[in-house]
Amino acid sequence: MKSKKKKHSLTIKQRNSLTGYLFFSPWIIGFLVFTLYPVIYSIRLSLNELNITTNGILMKFKGLYYYNEAINVDTSFKTYLIDEVCFTLCATPIIIVFSLIIALLLNKKYPLLSFFRGVFFLPVIIMSGPVISELLSKYIIDLSTFNPLIHQFLMGLPGFVRNPIIFALHNLVFFLWFSGVPILIFLAGLQKVSSEIYEAASIDGATAWEKFWKITVPFVKPMAMVNAIYTVMELANSSNNKVNLKIDSHLLEVGRPYSFSAAMSWIHFGVTLILLLLVYLVFEGFGRREKA
């Protein structure tokens, strides 16, 4: 019966999938021209020595020479890259937790709510490289030296406690400005949790603390993963990122045009992929423990 029906509708099905492809075809063309071809070409660039002559571009195969150059010979690239990894590892959890707290606060019905929402989404609008670098260079948004008393107090703490706190305070405004989109995503998600679940829990005698850990956290977990991936990408692609500035600065370098930059951007991409994999593993591990 079923197979008969299938046979009968085969032409409609085929037509359907053809129309589907028609709608989708712009993306396939775009992908081939603007992503796949550039990616392959960029790999080629990173493996070859370029010679731009009047007759066109001559390529000479060099293997992993430029990769070696970037990691072992260049003095600053490796340092910048390690700095970036450390920064991303520290900043991402802080941004996620912080934006979850803000989203939880904004999800409650209090007066002046729309004003606060307006304020907290401001970074989404103003996040652009030149504006941020202008602000960072023009005045010191460094809260660790904001108040001398706090500073003195921090200096009295042992190093392993003090350094993380100083790091967090030092970059606080920076973190805040990266948390615009994560707040938005958390908030949109939180509004989908029906209040009935919370009511049922409070009837059963759950405290606010228990409700948070047993209802809110599991619900918010997939969004936290999306946010973590988004934040890692955003930090890696930010135009203030020293690695990106370094890559851009070597773009048209005499003697090794394109190739050296291409090799560095592939190393950078590889490192970002490892970070993303780490995010995925953390959230997967977290989920499995919860199920057990």
Partner: protein
Amino acid sequence: MKVSKKIASDKVEFTQHTVRKILLGSKEKKGIVNLIVYFAILGGIGFLFLYPVLYMIINSFKSPEDLVDPAINWIPTSLYFGNYVKAYATLDFMNTFKNSLLMSIIPAIIQTIATAVIGYGLARFEFPLKKLWFTLIVATFIIPAQVTLIPRYMMFSKYGMINTPWPNLLPAAVGQGLKSAIFILIFFQFFNSYPKSLDEAAELDGAGKFRVFSTIAVPMAKPAIVVSLLFSFVWYWNETSQSSLFFGSVIKTLPMKLGNFAAAYEQVYNPNDADVYSAINESISLTGTFLSILPLLILYFILQKQFVESVERSGITGE
């Protein structure tokens, strides 16, 4: 004796109860303590968010005398508009603003149309290799711009498109623009969530697939369209690293001009001028920064509701 004592203790209990109710709140109403804590936290963090903007606005009104005066911190002695005149001239504001506007509105519209069509195709039709396409769409989001930047530049320069708007428009038209993958997924989510029977009903009435898309699907997708337009606009407005390479030497946008504000200032106002006050100072460059984000701020204050609500309605989070 005993009775009166009991009444008194009842009274005490009663007042205690009401005080408690006012301070801590009940189920129906939030208490004062709750409100204070709430406002203290949100207000405190909110101030940190607003601080850079406030700082910019206040400093933009400081005259050079106020700026060097250590006694003046937050409130300038008089409203001084000289910074605005200078920053306006340095940015060549009207021209640059027009460039910025065109170079973000047009790609935003094109990107929205393209991603809507692509998302609709993915959500509404069954076709082979769908899983592969999804993986590749996510991959386009993860691949950094730096990797594809050089080959794209070489490609555009081969076809003589450098220093024209095309490098921004063409990728947007085929779903490879700025963060296109996000918008494709938003449209996919949206078109996937409303009932298919609506389409089928229209098809029974004789509407073709494209007619169904343009007359039924598009009007329904308004929240997703608003999200896509707003965010594309903002992201294209703020993007500098790619566009400055592709057409930066001919078409200058506001963030690009801001990037080399100091150099541009010296070109407009001769640095050989002996007058100290005409040299660039913090106030002038902060005014430039403020002017360059002012259009976005105005847009944001008008459309603030749409920004937040449309994200909620478009199902950006998915499940």
